[in-house]
Amino acid sequence: MRREVPLTIVFVCGAFMAFQYFVPHHVSATVYQYALNWTIIIGIFTLVVGIGSLINVHYDRISKRKPTWRYSIVTLAALAFMATVGVLSPNAITDTQGLFLKMYFFVLSPVQATMFALLAFFIASAAYRAFRAKTVLATLLLLSAVIVMLGRVPIGETLTGWLPEGLRFSDISKYILDYPNTAAKRAIYIGVGLGIAGTSLKIILGIERTWLGGGK
């Protein structure tokens, strides 16, 4: 029974959601809307599970004095602090002079922006060390990357603006994006789509059961 009940629920829900897509009857539309509301509510509860998991992981690191356990204290303290400030301030999200928004704009925002900005430095360093024209394919990749990088910024137009139309970096870049890139992406998307449909069907029919857990 422990396996049959969830398998039956998945079959009924999966089969109904596939069926209702093609049947625009008001009953199926109503049930569909209920199902959507349920998934949003489940989504809200996953936040609770996520916070619980975060606390567990970091509490475990601190209690066992694992490497970088001090950072876990910062994580948990920040979580508790922001949650407390948010709950205790009635207008936390609208009070521009309040502590909650100040913490968001003057702490979280610069921290996140800085972390993402570091990417430019890592990309430059990685490109310098690893982007080598060792083979024909690697050379093609490198040339495409250089053309697209220059073609997507104004300096590409400045450098090759004197060339006839079609030979400028911006034109070649557009060709690469429109044809080889699109062809490859479309093939990948179609493959992924078929894979999703196949896997979904296997789950609905109970052939694929790894989601039930149990290790088998």
């Binding site: 999200i93 610069p110 060390r129 104004p154």
Partner: protein, 277 residues
Amino acid sequence: MAGGIWLKLANLDRRWIYFVIGVVTFIPILFYIEVEVNITPEVESVYHRVDSLAPGTVIMVPMEFSPSTMAELEPMARAVLRHCFSRDLRVLSTALQIDGIILIEKVLRESAVEYGKKYGEDYVFLGYKPDAQSVILSMGENFRNSFPRDYYGDYLDDLPMMNGISNYSNMACIVNINATSGVDYWINYANGRYGAELALGVTAVIATDYYTFLQSNQIFGLMGGLKGAAEYERLIGRPKDIANRSMTSVSVAHVFIILFIIIGNVAYFVNRRKGQG
């Protein structure tokens, strides 16, 4: 001697690379040099679609970005919103990325204030609900299902702009400004299932993923990264706004990354020929 230089270059301390990239990115920000920004058809298409709408039309501008991607997408969002408000369009917006809600609300509010627009009449912000996939599907049925109240806690039925507005079919089009993989949900569901006319504004790093959808007309326009934002700023007649001011910095950084790649390759091949690679 020459071999020594190439060997040193091959083993260059990465901090030098960081230093050079930092300097060449920072200096052009201090000294603004105007550069030519060519307008691409995919950005122009978004502009023309928005520009062709009659005043009072409702347009949806859902935004999903956070401080980490605001350098690229905030200028784009401001450019699109300024265009909408300057054309007296009414804007409905959501923020389905949890760490971006406050930032997005600020961008929307400030852009509206700039044009003297009134909340509830000229624009509405629905805010955030978890599980973007289900929320996008649910809004296709009725906005009130996912958002009975807006971000500020007001019932949608109490907001004059929402009179007669129930789902995507009441939107002239959707311009989704998105830094997440959630952009696929807008294509699959808002456009695929509910037939909404959709354009995208995404970060440069994921822009290449969406040319496929542009070619198949599933989206009618595409703005990629800061360059896309700079193009839109030019189209709305604001060539000195932040995205355009950053174009020199972006261009120089790209050139230096390419120079690093060339130097790295030359050093690699010279050293390999000498048996030192």
